[in-house]
């Protein structure tokens, strides 16, 4: 087993987690990582935050230094794509023309920003940006200078984080969102409305319920025309979602739905082939269905679990999904999955920017949102995972220590 050759298709965060966990776990076989970017695997969360504002160097997000891969005998192929997978002969064809045999194959192919085709005709100006890679962040960062005008298309997490980073640099920021509020897809309408207010308070011009019809090149930049208004921009960021890269896996005949289907250990419909990260749709034991997450935490956990499967010590990933976002001075976190009809129980105060919202259905916590309340996320996660019934009144009561509440019930 230790002489097996593992090939990882993709060089993002989850790929990095697989490699790291294989070597840290004592895997002695050959490891090849094929990534189409120029950097070794890195973490993406800071790309829209401190990397974008220039507070930290882009290099700081690298999971391990390039030398680590060499020292640990990892064959790392950067700026390289896998163009074809031959599952019958167990080998991958690279964009370099080379064929690499494998015993175990990992799809960590990630995703690509959903394009806005009407922006194509002004793309040559260099003012239209998407944000996925380190290179994207560096290119966009050059425009974020005091007094410049940024227009963000899409009020999701990426769009809101970019707007917040821009405001910190005194860049004028406008968000154009087709829906009713910001961040609705991630947090739901009630919290979306609350968070929209945070962006308004920080001077963001929010244009809700507007669809972009056209982009035009002007003397000083780009004019963005919506169905209700026009905005002048020096730079435009499009953040309207991610398309998982599942085509290569589909071509191999691996079962795919929204993502590459995998069991709770990360193995796909073909034995010895695994999927992990943004492109993967794992069976989640807590929800008893296949779910795909575009989240850092699951990218890491799944990558670690795939390594464990390859090491012969499979471990199930059963954690409820969790993600965070830092916008302005506020730390936002969300754990779990709300169910339709959940009651939202608020603890703390929105106006003081210190609150948690518990999504409760049938006396059980399904999800927790927190603004600057990481403690409630941790306590809520414990209550959520243990499935113990909760009293909404206790959740509201600031005198009740939720961490102890969860623990007492567990130990009895």
């Amino acid at each position: 087993m230790t002489n097996e050759h593992v090939v990882i298709v993709g060089g993002g965060t989850s790929a990095g987690a697989v490699v790291r966990s294989l070597r840290d776990g004592g895997f002695e076989g050959a490891v090849t990582l094929v990534g189409d970017e120029s950097s070794p695997p890195y973490e993406r969360p800071e790309l829209s935050k401190s990397v974008l504002t220039g507070a930290v160097a882009a290099k700081s997000v690298e999971m391990r230094d390039i030398d680590w891969y060499r020292t640990n005998d990892v064959d790392i192929r950067l700026d390289t794509r896998v163009s074809f997978v031959d599952t019958a002969n167990r080998s991958v064809a690279l964009s370099t023309g080379e064929n690499v045999p494998y015993d175990k194959l990992v799809f960590a192919t990630g995703g690509r920003p959903r394009p806005l085709p009407i922006a194509d005709k002004v793309e040559h100006t260099g003012r239209i940006h998407y944000l996925r890679t380190r290179q994207d962040a560096e290119a966009l960062g050059k425009f974020l200078v005091s007094g410049q005008r940024l227009v963000v298309i899409g009020g999701g997490v990426i769009g809101c984080e970019v707007a917040a980073s821009a405001r910190a640099l005194d860049v004028e920021a406008t968000i154009i969102e087709a829906g009713e509020g910001l961040l609705e897809r991630s947090f739901g309408p009630a919290l979306g409305a609350m968070l929209s207010q945070v962006h308004l308070d920080n001077g963001v011009d929010i244009r809700m319920r507007q669809s972009v019809l056209e982009f035009a090149v002007t003397a000083g930049g780009i004019q963005v025309v919506t169905d209700k208004s026009t905005v002048e921009a020096d730079v435009v960021v499009i953040g309207i979602g991610l398309i998982p890269n599942i085509e290569l896996a589909m071509d191999c005949g691996i079962l795919c739905d929204e993502g590459i289907l995998a069991n709770e250990y990360g193995e796909t419909s073909i034995r010895g082939i695994y999927a992990t990260g943004d492109a993967a749709q794992w069976f989640h034991p807590l929800y008893e269905q296949h779910l795909r997450f575009e989240q850092h935490d699951s990218a890491i956990r799944q990558g670690q679990a795939v390594a464990q499967s390859i090491l012969g010590t499979p471990t199930v990933v059963s954690n409820p999904p969790w993600f965070w976002s830092d916008q302005y001075e506020d730390n936002l976190q969300f754990v779990g999955r709300p169910s339709p009809g959940d009651e939202m129980v608020i603890r703390g105060s929105v106006s003081e920017r210190s609150m948690a919202a518990f999504f409760v259905g049938e006396s059980r916590i399904n999800a927790v949102f927190a603004m600057n309340r990481g403690r409630e996320i941790m306590a809520g996660r414990r209550l959520l995972t243990s499935g113990v019934p909760v009293e909404p009144d206790l959740l509201k009561d600031e005198d009740v220590d939720l961490r102890r509440l969860g623990r007492q019930r567990e130990s009895r």
């Binding site: 840290d24 965070w324 990481g374 403690r375 941790m378 623990r407």
Partner: protein
């Protein structure tokens, strides 16, 4: 062994942090020691002392969680081993630890730089 037995040469470097009675087994508490915020962790009567800041983005760790097995930062859920301060998730980091002793008088003392 009392703190004095450690030796007169270094005795002055040890500063009182708090009484052992004040920190329950399986809990963590932040105290100010010599102008430094120190995180004290009680592991079944053995006390560890760490700098009270997460190596990720310097957030205070006492705002986080200690469940007996892991210290978890509340900001981005970085996890640490309470015994060694070593990062668990991610693994490539570590809490900065301080020397720490409990004297016969039940006082926790810490050596901060």
């Amino acid at each position: 062994m009392s703190v004095k037995d450690v030796g007169a040469v270094v005795a002055d470097d040890w500063l009182d942090a708090m009484e052992l009675d004040e920190i329950w087994d399986g809990e963590m508490v932040a105290v100010d020691v010599g102008g430094q915020s120190v995180l004290l962790v009680n592991l079944e009567g053995e006390v560890r002392a760490y700098e009270n800041r997460c190596p990720h983005q310097a957030w205070r760790l006492d705002d986080g969680d200690f469940d007996g097995e892991r210290i978890v930062c509340s900001r981005h859920m970085w996890e640490f081993d309470p015994k060694s301060g070593a990062g668990v998730n991610p693994a490539d980091c570590s809490l900065k630890s301080f020397e720490c002793r409990v004297g016969d008088d039940g006082i926790i003392r810490v050596r901060v730089p």
